[in-house]
């Protein structure tokens, strides 16, 4: 366990850039043996990059990493493992077709050339009993629950003798019971002197499990090695999301006196795996407004976008459209009713490799118009250029192959089409994710322009700045539920951040639709 005064892991001035983006900028923190240290930050704050440097996946541009007081050069994951650094990946890395013991044998460097199954199974059982990580070594991984998968990952890391354990978002896929048993294991490991780094964006978990916390924002450490007990929730949120600067508010075009364009009442959606997609979601979208949907992705955003754009039918609840009354879902969604969507991954979901822009537009027109006959490719090519010009977007000539264009150009084509078709409402899922600054600005401007004709925008985004800059109202989603709805002066970084970090037990009663009435 070493000298308790020397940190198990000490990071000094670590920096790394990808292109022009400084993913980690002068990061410092340290963990002692027997300490649970939380690395807190929003998505994209640089937590994963930092972890990858600690595990030898990336090599830092500058800075120094020490293990037990000795400066080390972690050039590869196997070097990290030799140094006793173990990482439990967020996306678990097991082979479903193989048995638990086979997966572990594959991973351990000291597995003998001739597999000694009994010996490996005994080793697994010993470690598993010691840390109360119950897994049947003979089970096929495919048959395990997510919680068991994670236990196997932990066993892998513990069997190789990790003294510094890094857990990357370990609770994101677990049920509350599984989280409890994971935390119990973490505490046992802590008592045995293991240094533990837990990466998370959940404040409740920091409170519950961590001794100290380091907060990252935009690649920088904004709060350095602070004891969790000495800091308030507000201070943590502030550190995570930044100072609450009041965003200058644009003139709103929202008309809350009019009939809602789209209304959801107590919508429930179950995911194919049985977990909750949306629970009791009620909201109204009014003409001319920008309704921001904030929250960490994977909390029901995808399901909400599908329900709003008519691609999926909820298990229960009502969808009311302004002109046509209640409506079911069909293949083209609500596109024929003037409600279009920009999918979260348009390149995967909308682009056929090898087709040019005009053909794509002809296909989309055909799919969204129930009365369409035949394909008017050359006409479609002209129309998209006209639409693009109308909203001030520059797109390449219509005979270019779409899949060979840059992401930004593809996005502009899809955006032009979605905007042209949107008479009532446009559902934009992460419309600026992965785009450069210029395209981002174009996209936001084009989306705001549709309000002029009374069209509403539902903006689903993880980027709080984007939400604040664009929205008239903000709904915060968490675990498939609406945690709160904010408008006007309530809309601040910290209020949104607090709702995002909140657990569902302390649910806000506020419902989006009721709020504005």
């Amino acid at each position: 366990m070493g000298n308790s005064d020397v940190p198990a892991l000490d990071v000094k001035g670590l920096s790394i850039s990808f292109g022009t983006i400084r993913a980690n900028d002068d990061v410092n923190f340290h963990v002692k043996h027997g300490e649970i240290h939380a690395l807190l930050g929003e998505n994209g704050a640089g937590k994963s990059t930092l972890v990858k440097m600690l595990y030898g996946v990336y090599h830092p541009d500058s800075g120094r990493i020490s293990v037990d007081g000795n400066t080390v050069d972690i050039s590869s994951p196997s070097v990290a493992r030799q140094l006793g650094i173990g990482l439990v990946f967020q996306d678990m890395r097991l082979i479903p077709a193989l048995k638990v013991w086979e997966n572990i044998a594959l991973f351990l460097p000291d597995t003998p050339a001739l597999l000694e199954k009994e010996q490996i199974v005994t080793r697994i059982s010993e470690i598993s009993a010691r840390w109360k990580l119950e897994v049947d070594p003979m089970a096929t991984v495919d048959d395990l629950s997510i919680g068991e998968w994670q236990r196997v990952e932990l066993l892998k890391v513990l069997l190789q003798g990790a003294k510094i354990l890094i857990l990357d978002e370990p609770t994101s896929v677990l049920t509350p019971d599984e989280v409890e048993s994971l935390f119990a294991v973490i505490r046992r490991l802590q008592q045995a002197g293991t240094a533990i780094i837990i990466i998370t964006h959940k404040m409740r978990e920091v409170r519950e499990i961590a001794d100290n916390v380091t907060v990252l924002r935009k690649g920088k450490v904004v709060m350095d090695d602070v004891p969790v007990s000495s800091i308030s929730d507000e201070e943590l949120i502030e550190a995570m999301v930044g100072h609450s600067v009041s965003s200058e508010h644009r003139d709103s075009r929202a008309n809350y006196q009019a009939r809602p364009i789209l209304e959801l009442a107590k919508i429930n959606v179950q995911r194919p795996d049985g977990t909750i997609g949306l629970a009791d979601v009620s909201l109204r979208v009014y003409p001319g407004e920008v309704l921001g949907i904030a929250g960490i992705s994977g909390n029901g955003q995808e399901e909400l976008a599908d329900v709003l754009s008519g691609y999926a039918r909820p298990e229960s609840g009502d969808i009311v459209l302004a002109d046509k009354g209640e409506s079911g879902a069909d293949a083209g969604g609500f596109a024929s009713k003037g409600i279009t969507c920009i999918p979260s991954d348009p390149i995967r979901q909308m682009v056929v490799p090898g087709l040019d822009i005009a053909s794509h537009v002809a296909l989309w027109e055909h799919a969204t118009n129930p009365h369409a006959r035949g394909y008017d490719v050359s006409g479609a090519g002209k129309r998209i250029q006209k639409h693009a010009a109308e909203v001030g977007l520059r797109i390449p000539p219509s005979n270019r192959i779409l899949s060979q264009l840059s992401g930004g150009n593809i996005q502009r084509v899809i955006l032009s089409f979605a905007i042209a078709l949107a008479e009532k409402c446009i559902i934009a899922s992460y419309p600026t994710r992965g785009l450069d600054v210029g395209t981002t600005a174009d996209t936001r401007r084009a989306l705001l322009a549709v309000r002029e004709r009374g069209c509403a925008v539902v903006l689903i985004s993880e980027d709080i700045d984007e939400i604040l800059e664009m929205s008239d109202r903000v709904i915060v989603l968490g675990n498939g539920r609406i945690r709160g709805c904010l408008s006007g002066s309530e809309m601040t970084r910290s209020s949104i951040g607090r709702l995002m970090a909140e657990e569902e037990t302390e649910q806000h009663e506020a419902r989006a639709g009721e709020h504005v009435e």
């Binding site: 097991l94 082979i95 479903p96 077709a97 193989l98 086979e102 594959l106 597995t111 050339a113």
Partner: protein, 298 residues
């Protein structure tokens, strides 16, 4: 007559058994090699030429193994390191081998060589019925028995086998575990080519005792089918190979007996019997290695 059919089936089945196990290991590593037929042809011709000129069968088999491996090496270089399309590359390698062996082998067409000597296993060969069927063969048939056991042992009892199976499922996981999945795949394809070469050699110098252009007659493709329909299992792959051999043997015995059955029906019987049997046998619990979907460019 039954004994003759079954014993003949074991011998003919060995021609398919060796390539089948080569392909089994290859596919378990996540690569579909459609040029098994090409490796068999290369093995058949090379073995024939070497055995004929040197008079040494051991040299013949070694040369056949090497030739089969050479075809596989061309295939493997393209698909493992350049990640070329496996189906297309496999077919091209087969066509190339077919053309080259036809041209080179032209002058050997119709020449004969005596077949391999039968070795009765002392004791075992005198067991009633079974002795005749299993233990009165040449050395390559016995080598086939060893290959079955060795493959099962390799795949399930060694770390190498574990790495091969892991590679066929999720290469990325094998790579992060500190192994080189592309080398594993390369080696697996080479091993497959080697066994296919031996299978081809056994056909030309062991079984029929001559060389004829395109003499493998689609066996290399039946091998790919046997492996898939066996559900990538050792036992069913062996069973499928021998069953195919026995159907061929049965067809030729029936023909020799002068039983009037349509020639083409008789010729297609082995394919039908083997496929039906394997499909029935593999209905339960067969699981395609995950990585193979990738290999079929799906």
């Amino acid at each position: 007559m039954i004994e003759i059919i079954l014993a003949g089936g074991i011998a003919v089945g060995t021609v398919l058994l060796l390539p089948s196990f080569g392909e089994l290991v290859t596919e378990r590593a996540g690569i579909t090699n459609l040029s098994v037929e090409g490796s068999m042809l290369a093995g058949a011709l090379t073995a024939f030429i070497v055995a004929k000129t040197t008079g040494n069968y051991a040299f013949g088999f070694l040369a056949g193994a090497f030739a089969g491996m050479l075809v596989a090496a061309v295939f493997a270089s393209a698909v493992v390191f350049a990640r070329a399309n496996q189906l297309a590359t496999g077919l091209i390698c087969w066509f190339l081998s077919l053309g080259i062996t036809s041209v080179i082998g032209n002058s050997y067409n119709g020449q004969a060589i005596h077949q391999l000597r039968q070795i009765d296993i002392p004791g075992l060969s005198s067991i009633p019925f079974f002795g005749n069927i299993f233990f009165q063969h040449d050395v390559v048939v016995y080598f086939g028995y060893v290959a079955i056991a060795a493959t099962a042992w390799l795949l399930y009892k060694t770390k190498t086998g574990l790495i091969i199976r892991g590679t066929g499922e999720r290469r990325a996981v094998v790579d992060v575990s500190g192994h080189r999945s592309s080398l594993v795949q390369f080696a697996a394809v080479l091993a497959g080519g080697l066994l296919s070469g031996v299978g081809g050699a056994y056909l030309s110098i062991g079984q029929v005792g001559n060389w004829a252009s395109d003499m493998t007659n689609g066996y290399g493709f039946i091998v790919v089918a046997i492996v898939a329909f066996s559900g990538w299992r050792v036992s069913l792959t062996a069973l499928g190979s021998y069953l195919f051999g026995m159907s061929i043997s049965a067809a030729s015995v029936l023909q020799a007996q002068g039983i009037a059955v349509n020639q083409y029906l008789l010729d297609s019987l082995p394919y039908i019997i083997t496929l039906v049997a394997l499909i029935l046998a593999s209905r339960t619990n067969s699981r395609q290695p995950e990585g193979l979907a990738d290999s079929l460019s799906m």
